[in-house]
């Protein structure tokens, strides 16, 4: 069977499994309602356990971050004695941009400038796109303004319509990275001394981010076999964003917190950092895939025969909440963003194709990683639909048809327990989310805190509509071989 056919089959697998789960439940309900209800009860039990596990991880991750928030990372870097010296390390901070506003990038650069890390060790790269006609002028203007604050600022303009590439962040970043390599070689800078951080245009690193990253880079014996993942906190414009968008993005942060505790299973997402030497060895970010942020991890994983991991950093990066002109536009933008994130299901295809060829990774490790990918994406595409729609449908049908079988009664009973458990999760979410709140601007009323409490009541609606549907949409498109156009998430709402 040739490679293209295998790829097509693998592309269909996640979506088919998701649809099979949903449709089988409904078909089973028609043919054998009792068995369908029992299956649903087992699924709900699975979700109660999974929710408990995720809540425990969320608490642990929160404690981990909170307990290390006052570490003096820069002092720790200076005291560390390893083969690599603190002064040898150079940071390259790469901002791929496309039609971003000047104010947005300025805010990100200002945040980088305020970092308590020696700026002469920071090389900034502003990567624009040729198809963005204003990019060159705007980025050069920014370079002129910020050059005195950093080691150097390089502006690259990614040419359009390069064969084999799709218009995406990955292709832009790869082009810029190649230019960076040339620059480093020309300036006699050793690649193994360079840490590259690929940020979104709205990414504002914590003031201790670079120091924390450096510390872990220095103290890690496998520094080139590790990616470094900060926690993305979407709070740059939290006081201006509508409640619905806030809840969604805080949920994303929570998910990353939970994932950060799954040691050995974390993969890179969105803004991340890694060894520049490794980046060059694996051939940079993919130029023909949407989910370049996660595929780069897999490229490294395969390159090092499975001996590659992602380390969750204790210091976060702050990003914008994606908002639109009005609530409907915001829902649309959020849906598209989630669908783009869900397009990470293409990683399953990428990883499976390569696992079939690679013999240097143990079967157990391959199976574990494939299972993790499938489990995450299939659950993502199905859980909200089953819990928010299918379960209530079964319960209502049981009541309407006066089905007095005990199983229907107990399904409603167990569903009630889960609903009560979710209230506990809501309270916990509210308490943890307080730590992610930046100081309230003077022109924002205190009444907004009421909104911050009440916003969590939107969670059932959000999880029902925006929980699984984007993921199912992405997987279904993949079944039919459709591609997703890289839709840049509109950001840049004024932050006050």
């Amino acid at each position: 069977m040739n490679e293209i056919k295998i790829k097509r089959i693998l592309e269909a697998v996640p979506g088919l499994i998701s649809w099979a789960i949903l449709l089988c439940l409904l078909v089973l309900f028609i043919m054998a309602p009792l068995f369908a209800v029992l299956t649903l009860i087992v699924y709900l039990m699975y979700w109660v356990c999974r929710l408990s596990y995720m809540t425990a991880l969320l608490l642990a991750a929160h404690f981990r971050m909170h307990s290390r928030r006052n570490y003096q990372w820069i002092d720790m870097c200076k005291k560390v004695k390893t083969d690599l010296c603190f002064n040898d390390v150079l940071h390259v901070v790469l901002y791929p941009t496309y039609k971003e506003s000047k104010e947005l990038i300025e805010t990100s650069l200002d945040s980088l400038r305020k970092s308590n890390y020696p700026k002469d060790k920071v090389l900034v790269v502003l990567a624009g796109e040729e198809r963005d006609v204003d990019a060159k002028e705007m980025l050069n203007g920014l370079k002129k303004h910020y050059l005195p604050f950093f080691n150097n600022i390089i502006v690259t303009i990614h040419p359009d319509n390069i064969e084999g590439e799709i218009p995406s962040k990955g292709s832009n970043a790869t082009y810029a990275a190649k230019k960076i390599k040339d620059y480093l070689i020309d300036n006699d800078i050793r690649l193994e001394h360079v840490i590259i951080s690929c940020f979104d245009a709205d990414t504002c690193p914590d003031e201790n981010y670079l120091a924390c990253l450096t510390y872990h880079y220095l103290t890690n014996s496998k520094r080139h076999q590790t990616s470094y993942q900060p926690l993305p906190i979407y709070n740059n414009n939290i006081y201006q964003a509508p409640a619905l968008a806030r809840v969604i993005e805080i949920g994303s942060t929570f998910w990353q917190l939970i994932e950060s505790m799954r040691y050995g299973k974390v993969i890179t997402f969105s803004s991340h950092s890694m060894s520049f030497k490794t980046l060059v060895e694996v051939g940079y970010w993919p130029v023909d895939m949407i989910s370049d942020d996660s595929v780069i991890f897999w490229k490294c994983f395969l390159h090092f025969d499975g001996d590659y991991r992602t380390y969750p950093l204790e210091r976060p990066v702050y990003m914008d909440i994606a908002v639109g002109k009005n609530i409907f536009d915001t829902i649309k933008i959020q849906y598209k963003q989630k669908r783009r994130w869900a397009w990470g299901v293409e990683n399953f295809v990428y990883v499976s194709m390569h696992f079939l060829k690679y013999n240097n990774i143990s079967f157990l490790k391959k199976f574990s990683r494939i299972y993790q990918l499938l489990d995450n994406h299939v659950n993502w595409a199905t859980w909200a639909i089953i819990i928010s729609f299918i379960t209530p449908f079964f319960i209502c049908w049981g009541k309407v048809t006066s089905h007095n079988t005990l199983v229907f009664l107990n399904l409603a009973y167990i569903n009630g327990i889960i609903s009560n458990a979710l209230i506990f999760v809501l309270i916990l979410s509210f308490l943890i989310s307080k730590y992610f709140m930046p100081p309230r601007p003077a022109n924002i009323s205190r009444m907004i805190y009421v909104s911050f409490v009440l916003q969590w009541l939107l969670l059932p609606f959000i999880s029902a509509v925006l929980g699984s549907l984007p993921a199912l949409d992405a997987q279904t498109r993949l079944i039919f071989g459709k591609t997703l156009v890289f839709n840049r998430t509109k950001k840049g709402k004024k932050r006050k």
Binding site: L38, N404, L406, V407
Partner: protein
Amino acid sequence: MKNLSDRGYQVSQIVFFWIISLAFLVFTPIIVLFSLGYTFDGEANTFIKTGVISMETQPGKAQIYVDGNKLPDTTPYLLRGVLPKAQSIVFEKKGYFTYKTLVTVKPGMVTDINVALVPDSEIYEQKSLPFDLYAYFTTKSIMEEKLICLTDKGIILCDSKFAVEKVITPQVMSEVTARSIKHMIYSGDKLILWNDKQIWVSSVEEENQADVTVISKVYETENNIKHVFLGLKKRYLMIQDDKEVKAIDIKNYSILYPIAKLETNDGEIYYDEDSDELYLYERDVQSSERTLKIKNLGTNFYAKLQELTYERDQNKKNP
């Protein structure tokens, strides 16, 4: 947990994972068996499939006894783990008769018991009314039931607990007459009362520059009035007595039209408001069989009305 190393967090994560996985493996079969109604019988050392009894009473908070054993809570109550056999259920509540029943619970099924308790007749709540009540009739508004009370102070609209809402008319009917009223129609602006021989209808008249509702007798007959209703787009009062069906114009009670003759006095009628069709179900005098006749009062009747009205007007002009 606060100052754990990364290794410590990693171990914690693995421990959480295995604890929760174990919990899933242990509790899920128990929950499935519980959902099906299975319970473990320690004496017989086996699983028995039980049922559930769902108990509700009106009013609630009744004490429950199952096979003589008092339950810790009152109704509504869901009793689980009931063995599949006949169980005696007793509901007790102060002020109500004790309710006893026997149910046979089926394994894996929910048996519903929904009972209305009957008040103990020796217990009365005394209530004093601001009037002497001769008779009352119920009428339904959108949200709740109301009472039309014929009293010594007039005809009064009350809520379901006899609290006065408004005085429909201060006009007093004699007690004898009021107590003879058998039926009533109240449609917001019109009150229609009747007994076996007479019909009264309310109307609004101007008195001392104010609108007052008065009750007037609009019809009287030697026959027995069996049924009164509004018909012909609610513009006519339709009256069925032993012999015939008539229509009275509610704007001019002197206008009376014959609609249908009944051959026997045990005929039944039904009136379809939407189509203005009158259905007569009565025994045919000759064949003694019951027949159903339909009379369309719509266009035919209006045409007949116009004819009759024209004749009357002509008679007035040319006496």
